[in-house]
Symmetry: C2
Subunit: 409 residues, 2 copies
């Protein structure tokens, strides 16, 4: 019998009424003959409310009390999973719920940002064999020294895909409040189209570039263990988007989709001495302070000196500015320039590899609209561009149009 893992997010289980709707859907799937494992998030804003309580006790619970914060936050999914199990049982289908610890979702000990190391799931398998639906708290696990941990952002998606991998599920269904993955954010680009399929690498690029529909960590696990992931709406019956491996022989499309994210900033160290040393020092000093650098670009000037550009998230700007400012003095450079308020656009498509025209076309289109590009980077399946955040929507719209992402294909 096929095993299906279904994951429902906080909005989908936001009230007792919605929990009953989810229960009806799960019961129907079970009655169709599938074995079903369900992963749930906390109800609605429950996690935010627990955070708010913690902030009324401590200014920085995440750093000061990570172990206790995890115990606190894990209460949210516990409530949702128990209620959902009750609701499924009320539909006449046998069901029971497990915490991350009971389901043996084993993580490392990094509280609030734990990573799954192993899914033992012995009790889950036993209960499935007894014909029961098993509900599992998303977002949480247990470390090898029996401490409750949480997985951080995207935690419930990660739990679901990791369980699907460990149990050898036929597929993992991610039920959410949107109906699938789109060629661009439909709230920004009205012509955006829902994708029927997308491959893991493309989805990973979109997810790491600001597409909110699914978290990158979960996609990575899906790709590694080849778990087909179906992203779909919990409020309807339509098919969503299937995330799968790339099919060989299939004609690759140039672009699959766009994603974007504001809140980026660029620092330029002007007139650095030449050679690799200074660049290396800048990067390692930033890394040592825990500042993540996104794009790096350097250019030699006619006078032999060099311009070095790095981009960071705006949250990290104060720290990055201080470090780079000190290095400008230390290394005898000329000055530090700064540009904040940037948005990062990502053009994603496994077909762009080996088609150099994509770059040129993107620049051409933005130039036509008078939108300046402040930085760029590429991978084999994506191009990222920095523009003023004020131009984010306009840039997405003209690129979406230019690459023919709307309409049928």
């Amino acid at each position: 019998m096929a095993l299906i893992v279904q994951k429902y997010g906080g909005t989908s289980v936001g009230s007792p009424e919605r929990i009953r709707q989810v229960a009806a859907r799960v019961a129907a799937e079970r009655r169709r003959g599938s074995d079903v494992v369900v992963v749930v998030s906390a109800m609605g804003d429950a996690t935010d409310e627990l955070f708010a309580l913690a902030y009324r006790i401590s200014e920085d619970p995440r750093r000061r009390h990570p172990r206790e914060l995890d115990l606190l936050l894990s209460a949210g999914e516990r409530v949702a999973m128990a209620l959902l199990a009750m609701a499924i049982r009320e539909c006449g289908v046998e069901a029971l719920s497990f915490t991350g610890s009971q389901a043996a979702i084993i993580t490392n000990g990094a509280h609030t940002v734990a990573r799954i190391e192993e899914v033992r799931a012995t009790r889950v398998r036993e209960e499935l064999e007894r014909g029961r639906v098993v509900i599992i708290a998303g977002f949480q696990g247990v470390s090898r020294d029996r401490e409750v941990t949480t997985l951080g952002r995207g935690g419930s998606d990660t739990t679901a895909v990791a369980l699907a991998a460990a149990l050898g599920a036929a597929r993992c269904e991610i039920f959410t409040d949107v109906d699938g993955v789109h060629t661009a954010d439909p709230r920004r680009v009205p012509g955006a189209r829902k994708l029927e399929r997308i491959d893991y690498d493309e989805m990973l690029e979109l997810a790491t570039s600001g597409a909110k529909v699914m978290h990158a960590r979960a996609v990575e696990i899906g790709a590694r263990y080849r778990v087909p992931i179906h992203v779909r709406s919990s409020f309807g019956e339509e098919e969503g988007t299937l995330i799968v491996g790339r099919e060989t022989g299939m004609e690759d499309l140039v672009l699959t989709g766009l994603a974007s994210e504001s809140g980026h900033a660029r620092l330029t160290l002007c007139g650095l001495p030449s050679g690799m040393g200074p660049t290396s020092q800048v990067l390692s000093r930033l890394a040592a302070a825990g500042v993540s650098v996104d794009m790096v670009a350097q250019a030699d000037r006619a006078d032999g000196r060099r311009q070095l550009q790095v981009t960071v998230r705006e949250e990290a700007l104060p720290e990055a500015r201080e470090i780079c400012g000190a290095l400008v003095t230390e290394l005898g450079a000329e000055r530090l320039e700064e540009r904040a308020g940037l948005a990062r656009l990502a053009l994603v498509g496994s077909g762009m590899h080996g088609r150099p025209g994509v770059y040129a076309r993107a620049f051409e289109v933005l130039l036509e609209k008078g939108i300046e590009v402040y930085g760029l980077s590429t991978s084999s399946i994506s191009i990222a561009l920095l523009v003023d955040a004020a131009n984010e929507t306009a840039a997405l719209e003209c690129l979406h149009e230019a690459f023919g992402l709307g309409g049928e294909r």
Copy 2:
């Protein structure tokens, strides 16, 4: 170093501000040099809110989904314990929290009404040895097959006293919203006086007779393991009431205190055939249906037939009425009479044993006030009387006065 177990109820940790006040008190105790274990209830109405959610999913979650209900309810203490641990750490005292399962509070498998079988508390001891304050979720445990259980009414008190017994604590302090145990409920009897000490048996009688200050189960464990229990207010520094073993050589006082509880009812089976058979049938039929009988009285009539009176809680009255009605027909008795709306008064005092005047005095006082008694029972340290609920307060007041419970002694 002396080990103290402190228990704080829901009102005491009802908001982040109150949690900070509790933390300050715990930190002060730790700084005075004690080892401290803290047991907490869920914040304010949290448990009621979780129940309300369950009732929006199911009409009878307690019977239909006891396992899931326990998982749900256990989230309440988890929130309180984590926040309290953070707050204590914010006071500069090392602390960490454990769930009932982590603290190895081992119970039987009776969901929603589990009983503690063993307290292993190895992790608790380890952390105490490291000098940390340990916070433990009250009201919850784990069964031998690793299921989360809850202890039912009075659960957090029970957790606290059981931990104090297992850890060999010097005392168990029960912090609550009243300042101790009184000679009668101060809201009903204005002259009621706070007791400095009371012995376990007396406290047990008061607790089982409606005194809300502490739950009988916890007192029983205290008595069995001789744990001194200190009941006191979490909103002040005054001493409360110490519950301890009876001191030999001490002159016993006639009465220690009064308690009362409304919601009792009496059924009279009139004209039963003589002999033990019918009475035995009535009692076993009620027991088989799960109806608890409080008082039983029988009287032979001149005609050789018998009147049998039983008292039950009003909640059980419909079921008891049906059973007794059927038995009246079956056994060829005359009729069933019923009187609901009764209150049960308890006069408690280890000194009443061997002093027959107490009974007489109580009747005399009630007669003077025109208060009729509908049933009575006695133990070696208490007398229980049933009166109309409308007379509950008047009866308490005149008995309190008659036995000189107010004022200094």
